[in-house]
């Protein structure tokens, strides 16, 4: 995503001109010499230096000779180029032209190696190790230390600093990249240097392991093999790996990743470098959670149900059985999860309209409302007002129903960076100040579930600083309170602030753009616009497109149960993610015919009539559209002929349907063909529909007499029991412990005047209309009468086993 526009020429360029190794170069003021040298093609060796961390000058590897500091005087001794800003007229001689600099660098390299083990052959970093590489380029071949009987410092090896991260202390060159990253970027200063001299080492506080959502970045930027992951340690050699660029599929941030694979198997994933999106950082989930595609219950061949049992089938048979079943089932609907690529979502959207002749399609496998669908059509589709970089420029960023550290980790890092620079104030409307908000120095505007409308309305007050320069980020959870999205839109309209929607899943925004909604057609075309339907119908070669606004996910479930709908095509929906898991399961049972496109066995495949395996992201090309409207395309990592993208499977069913007189073929079989079709279709250029909040839902029922009512607040933590983290025991072990949070007054009202345990050792049982859960309770600064629990960190999760978010639950003290 690089821009080709050049900055306009200015007279005062703010550039500083200096001479490096005899070559004149002009660089922006305050550039460090080490980076100015890169401009003339000189790589000065370095360890502690990292462009995204504050300079520290610890390793001294980057020493250069400065015969003239720009003031006519030189430095008598070599200087660390990673801490020295350029100056007009400065003369720098690096190792390329200066014997002094070269000897200084060789000397430092020799020192670094005296206490470094010669275990490169068994070290995971061997082959991609900055120390190894730079020792070859800037060091001596033989060790004077070893040949004269020097004794190395040693440590027992390795030690776990978290369930995921291992530390080999004797390999560490004490560059402090990991500790600086954790403190400066992630805001999780759980590791620090301890002891002194050569015994200095990275250490953890014994009672707080290095449990950071971003710990993998510290491993990646370690310039030696001191930090390794339990996940990848001893798994492969870097020179055996093939690297393919990719896009993280775990959230709507579109973080660039690098997929390293060997013989058809992903071995690890690393952060890619994209300054406009994730810079060089990704979350541990983006990095470590990829084995869900390698677990044992992966579906590898089509199956059809015969005499109540699923049996293997050929693709052609499965397509034909699916087509016939859908034809015979009567009216059919489509439910897709939020994990689809934009191309696949487009295929579902077209399949619904062209093959099934319906607008009954919804990608929202989560609690959702008609207001949200309207909001997506009016404020989200085709929008791209806010980018990552805009967040850093905004004086105020308002978070509504969004917990970035858990729900959009890459976005969180950028927000924290903006806040750390002191120019951006983060304001969050939430049940309590989360750790993420605290790390962003954010201000909480507390809101009990259900009160968001009034609270958002109050943000218009000047004290909150929401002006036209502000940015409002709306999370998908805001839809849980009727009127809240309208209130957010009003706030934006009233203040001139820009608004952006940040869903939790990678495919959500792409599904909006692709028209996987009952009220939107592909390209942001409003279904209610006749011209949009006509244009699209013509482009698709269909006589007419269904004009009636379709059922949303909730209505589809209800209609299946009632028998108004008979057929269902489900693509990647976990029943426990839906608004009412029990109702969803009942609808599956009630449906006359269910076609499931799935990666792994689920409760849907277990009852489906036809099960069609689909490709995981590594096996297909695709595009994820990020929360800021950025199309992030990626190529297939593996060319696996047995692994078909959803769009190819749908195309096969559509062909069979067309053959028996239903609809038309979709007209594509490959991702490239879908991309071409989407490209030529283009976006809607007409007016956007207005936001319609619709009717308020029925009020939630009051608790029984004598019970204290608590409003249920919840969201999913970044690392939890989500199925895309299956197979990652080490990652899961770093998840935050599930707890229930209540205010101090609530705590005392439930548990009496007991002294609250800071560690949350007191247990509480939360009971809702779908079940109950017992969790440790901790006191948080939040409104009374509200309880927060993590949504998917126990059992089958809040929706399946506790209650609907925002509904009323009761609390009772419990003993283990």
């Amino acid at each position: 995503m690089s821009t080709t526009d050049k900055a306009p020429e200015k007279v005062d360029t703010g550039l500083v001109t200096l001479t490096i190794d005899g070559v004149q170069v002009s660089v922006p003021k305050d550039t460090l010499v080490i980076r100015a040298a890169e401009q003339v093609g000189v790589q000065i060796p370095r360890f502690c230096d990292h462009p995204l961390l504050d300079p520290v000058g610890a390793c001294r590897q980057c020493l250069v000779d400065i015969p003239d500091a720009g003031n006519g005087r030189g430095f008598p001794k070599p200087q660390a180029s990673c801490t020295l800003p350029v100056a007009e007229g400065m003369v720098v001689n690096t190792q390329a032209t200066s014997e002094v600099a070269d000897k200084a660098q060789q000397g430092i390299m020799e020192f670094l190696l005296i206490n470094h083990p010669l275990d490169c052959p068994v070290c995971d970093k061997g082959g991609e190790c900055p120390l190894q590489n730079q020792a070859m380029s800037n060091g001596r071949g033989e060790s004077r230390f070893a040949e004269r009987g020097g004794i190395k410092r040693t440590f027992p090896k390795p030690i776990n600093i978290s369930a995921q991260v291992l530390l080999d202390r004797e390999r560490c060159v004490l560059c402090a990249r990991c500790t600086r990253f954790s403190e400066q970027v992630a805001g999780d200063p759980f590791i620090a240097l301890a002891e002194r001299g050569a015994l200095q080492q990275v250490a953890i506080y014994e009672r707080e392991p290095y449990e950071s959502y971003f710990s993998g970045n510290a491993i990646q930027i370690c310039p030696v093999g001191a930090l390794t992951s339990a996940d990848y340690r001893f798994r492969s050699r870097p020179f055996d790996l093939v690297s393919t660029p990719g896009v993280a599929e775990h959230d709507a941030c579109g973080a660039a990743i690098r997929v390293d694979h060997r013989r058809g198997k992903v071995m690890r994933r690393l952060a890619g470098n994209d300054p406009e999106v994730n810079e060089e950082w990704i979350s541990d989930k983006d990095r470590f959670a990829f084995r869900y595609a390698q677990v044992a219950d992966r579906i590898t061949y089509p199956q059809v149900r015969e005499d109540g049992e699923l049996r293997p089938a050929s693709w052609t048979e499965a397509f034909a059985v699916a087509a016939r079943g859908l034809r015979d089932a009567g009216a059919a609907a489509v439910l897709t999860g939020g994990r689809l690529t934009a191309e696949d979502a487009y295929a579902y959207a077209k399949f619904a309209r062209v093959s099934l002749g319906t607008n009954d399609i919804d990608f929202r496998a989560r609690p959702h409302t008609a207001e949200e669908a309207s909001f997506l059509a009016s404020h989200v589709a085709l929008s791209g007002d806010v980018t990552y970089a805009d967040l850093e420029a905004a004086p105020v960023v308002v978070l509504l129903g969004l917990e970035p550290e858990d729900e959009a980790a890459t976005l969180f890092l950028r927000l924290r960076k903006a806040a750390q620079r002191g120019r951006t104030q983060v304001v969050s409307v939430a049940s309590h100040a989360s750790r993420g908000l605290t790390k962003m120095n954010g201000r909480l505007v507390p809101a009990a579930p259900g009160t968001e409308v009034e609270v958002i309305g109050s943000l218009k007050d000047a004290e909150h600083g929401v002006t036209k320069d502000a940015v409002i980020l709306v999370g998908e959870r805001l839809a849980q309170t009727h009127g809240a999205l309208s209130a957010a839109a009003d706030l934006a309209a009233g203040t001139g602030a820009r608004i952006a929607w940040v869903p939790r899943r990678a495919g959500d925004r792409g599904a909006v753009e692709a028209g996987a909604l009952p009220n939107l057609l592909p390209g942001g075309r409003p279904l209610t616009e006749a011209s949009a339907r006509v244009d699209l119908g013509a482009a698709w070669g269909a006589d007419t497109l269904p004009a009636k606004v379709g059922r949303d996910g909730n209505a589809i479930v209800a209609a299946l149960a009632k028998g108004d709908l008979g057929g269902l095509v489900v693509g990647g929906v976990d029943p426990d993610d839906t608004a009412d898991p029990a109702a969803f399961r009942a609808a599956l049972d009630a449906a006359r015919f269910v076609v499931s496109l799935e990666l792994r066995e689920t409760d849907v495949t277990r009852v489906a009539d036809v099960v069609l395996p689909v490709a995981p992201v590594a096996d297909k090309a695709g595009t994820f559209v990020t929360w800021d409207g950025r199309a992030r395309s990626f190529d297939a990592v593996f060319a696996n002929p047995a692994s078909l993208p959803d769009l190819r499977v749908l195309s096969g069913i559509a062909d069979e349907l067309a053959a028996i007189g239903h609809g038309r073929p979709l007209g594509f079989r490959t991702v490239a063909e879908v991309r071409d079709e989407m490209q030529s279709l283009g976006p809607w250029d007409g007016a956007r529909p207005a936001l319609d909040a619709g009717k308020a839902p029925k009020p939630v029922k009051a608790p029984r007499k004598g019970e204290t009512a608590f409003a249920l607040a919840t969201w999913k933590q970044l690392v939890d029991l989500g199925s895309m983290q299956d197979g990652e025991e080490h990652l899961r072990a770093t998840a935050r412990r599930p707890v229930a949070r209540v205010s101090r007054a609530s705590y005392e009202s439930v548990l009496g005047m007991l002294e609250a345990q800071p560690g949350g050792d007191q247990l509480v049982t939360v009971t809702g209309d779908r079940g109950s859960v017992t969790l440790p309770v901790v006191v948080a600064d939040m409104p009374d009468g509200v309880v927060w629990v993590p949504a998917r960190s126990f059992g089958r999760g809040v929706l399946a086993e506790l209650a609907s978010p925002g509904s009323t639950v009761t609390l009772k003290g419990a003993t283990s």
């Binding site: 008598p76 000397g107 206490n115 001299g197 200095q200």
Partner: protein, 436 residues
Amino acid sequence: MTDTLTPVLTDNWDADRAWTLASYEERGGYAALDKAFAMTPDAVIDTVKDSGLRGRGGAGFPTGMKWGFIPQDNPRPKYLVVNADESEPGTCKDIPLMMASPHTLVEGVIVSSYAIRANTAFIYVRGEVLHVIRRLQRAVQEAYLAGHLGKNIHGSGYDLDLIVHAGAGAYICGEETALLEGLEGRRGQPRLRPPFPAVAGLYASPTVINNVESIASVPSIITNGAAWFAGMGTEKSNGFGIFSLSGHVTNPGQYEAPLGITLRELIDLAGGMREGHELKFWTPGGSSTPLLTPEHLDVPLDFESVGAAGSMLGTRALQLFDETTCVVRAVLRWTEFYKHESCGKCTPCREGTWWLTQTMARLEKGQGDEGDLDLLLDQCDNILGRSFCALGDGATSPISSSIQHFRDEYLAHLTHGGCPFDPAASTAFAPVGAPA
């Protein structure tokens, strides 16, 4: 220039209970306050500038100029921090001063803080010297009770709080930015400069960091005038200083004299070398200053002359070693000290001292060959000026200077197959006249 002692800071050390406020005030203590408060703060700075007082912690930076660097238009509070983390091997002037007359320092802190417009000052004391910490704390308490500290001191409208902070036993915390880290509650490791402490020091506020002796000298300058102070010493090294003689000398101790006095004069004042022995080598200012030999006995002990002789005046910690001392052994002990005290932040100091110690230890045992001497010098060359702070530089000084002056003695270890000296002969308990 005078060749006699000039007791100013040490003048009251022999007074009865010299450390008490009563004793100090009886001799005119705290009178400099009123004189200073009658002046503008800038006038106090100018007086100190005119006196030519240079930092007594070793580097010799002009104290008044340092105070003048404080940006007075900076809205943040200003701080004075007294570096009392005296930990250099051989250096023993600040701790005796604080032990004998803590009020001299407290008075200096008040005048100096007034000059730089600080309302909070800190004395960062080496943590091991608990007796000194207690004495300082008591002195500060006395000063508060007597109205020399606190609100509206002496009715001047000037407020000052003085905090005595105990370090945790790290030599590196004598480095001023590491000291600030320690004072802020972090690990003592030096900070990147710039920003310099004068601009963003303690709690990112303008901060002056001065040695104990520098600050303790200020009241006498205010009382007696800049010209009085400048009249002592040499042209560019004005005033007096405490010379601490230790080692093989008849009467070790603190000798306060004008800068520019020679070691020959000081040894005479101290009753000569240990009886029956003669000087072999010495450090002018602690172990971090390159060794000198008897040929330097007449070098004037001021900043310029000692520098010209190839060493540094440092802290005037004159460690004297007679001919019974094995220079290799002495240097190894120092090297071990630097290895133990290296903070670990930068590579050359952390790894270099680890290696130097091993090489030195082998040489002392007579292992290795002449190439090890060249290796040592090369290691020193790779540390000196390449380290993050001066600790690494200091670690190389005794090694490179001792090889320069005593290369043959190193070689003798190799030919002798070990140390040719009797280690007992250099000890304090060695019988008088023991053979070398």
